[in-house]
């Protein structure tokens, strides 16, 4: 009994302390260093925060460069598919061309009408105010966290809590600001909570991320009878978000009211950050 305990102790000590010929650090030393870094970061230690910001900027750029060649693979794949599709379509179109010529004037008329209607629709929901365009550097999909990294930081006037939109639709808010980059917490992240309003009676609720593609509505009124296909907007009750930014449409899912987001969080290439004044109290 005592001998087996001794053996266990020797094996543990050896695993923790042995460095070997090519190992410069023992396991126990690195574990201590990692633990110290973790606790300094968890307690928002100033020096670690500053170092972290510098490391973040460097690694985000490196990540962007290292994955650049891989971004061409889907492009090449699309090009091959497009070419094959074009050859097939060309044959079909030649047959249809004769018929289409007869309808040319009618199509032109409908196209003009469609364009003008599109312009009216687009101008109706423009978000006013100062904003800045940013490129998505990293959108690494994690099973736990739903966030993206953009190429704008405090140098461009970005502050923590600023709303981020894709076109005219809300996608998330800034949660971490470095000098040249920032992290955006997406609406479907578990940690995301956004006050919203919807329906004819301006019902107030909280849009809560669940780590899935569709966030859910929480804190709905007691007597509210849920039904789907209603447009959800930011309410601005938290004093952070501009009221009236479109978010998505309601969908019924058994007992939950889910929201199908207008902007797919997995398909973001460029986003716009609303440069609004954010007081510390509202965060």
């Amino acid at each position: 009994m005592s001998s087996s305990r001794d053996d266990f102790g020797i094996a543990v000590r050896s695993a923790l302390l042995k460095k070997g010929a090519r190992q410069k650090f023992s396991l126990v030393f690195l574990l201590i260093v990692a633990t110290i870094i973790f606790f300094l970061d968890a307690n928002q230690f100033k020096l670690i925060n500053l170092t972290k910001k510098l490391i973040n900027d460097g690694i985000y750029r490196l990540t962007n460069i290292s994955t650049a060649p891989l971004k061409f693979l889907p492009v090449i794949n699309d090009k091959i598919k497009e070419t094959a599709f074009a050859i097939k379509e060309n044959k079909k179109l030649k047959v249809e061309l004769q018929n289409l010529k007869n309808k040319e004037f009618q199509v032109e008329f409908l196209k003009n009408q469609n364009d003008s209607l599109k312009r009216i629709l687009e101008s109706d929901v423009k978000i006013k105010g100062k904003s800045i365009l940013a490129k998505v550097l990293i959108d690494k999909d994690s099973p736990y966290l739903k966030s993206i990294v953009i190429n704008r930081g405090s140098k461009s006037g970005i502050r923590k809590g600023m709303p981020v939109v894709d076109g005219n639709y809300l996608v998330g808010k800034i949660v971490e600001v470095n000098y040249l980059s920032s992290r955006v917490l997406l609406l479907n992240d578990l940690n995301s909570r956004i006050p919203i309003t919807f329906g004819e009676n301006s019902i107030q609720a909280i849009l809560s991320g669940k780590g899935e593609s569709k966030p859910v509505l929480e804190y709905l009124p007691d007597l509210y009878e849920p039904y789907g296909n209603q447009t959800v907007f930011t309410s601005g009750k938290d004093g952070v978000f501009i009221p009236g930014i479109p978010v998505g449409k309601t969908e019924m899912d058994e007992l939950n009211v889910k929201v199908k987001l207008f902007s797919d969080p997995n398909q973001l290439s460029f986003v716009t950050i609303q440069l609004i004044n954010i007081s510390k109290g509202s965060l």
Partner: protein
Amino acid sequence: MAILYKNLKASVVNSLPLIILYYLSISEIDTHFSNMFEILSFNLQIIIIYYWMLKNSSVLGNGHIFFVGIINDVVMGLPLGISAISYLTVSFVASYIRQVTVNISLFTDWFTFLIALFFSNLVYLILILNFSDLQISYVDMSYNAFFTFLFYPFIWVIFNFYKKIMFLRADD
């Protein structure tokens, strides 16, 4: 010249697991296939660390594992140091298993990997729950651990094949 070429080839071939480990942490390549199958995600970094620390610790080294963990935290937006501690825990279990076992087969490796995976996730969970504001989904985490465990034998076979073409010296 021939010796120089042979040495260069040996160092590239021997460093490949380490290069993959760094690249997985630094790049946007991930092993989370939610687009294909919603619950499918696994942690290839943990498999790489466990396998090579068990078979030949000189291929990776604890210092590199520590840095990979730090980089992973930065890219994923996790509290700094959490992945490093989690990966070093895996490394510790692998080192301990290496000390106490003589006859190693796929099944003993697979079983002991479960212990490493358990302690790694336990440490991760304790640190996140007690010292950070982050919320995590236990279901997603369980699926991730399950698939990591499930895929270990496949990766084991690939690495075992790769080990045969490496120019390894006896483990220290």
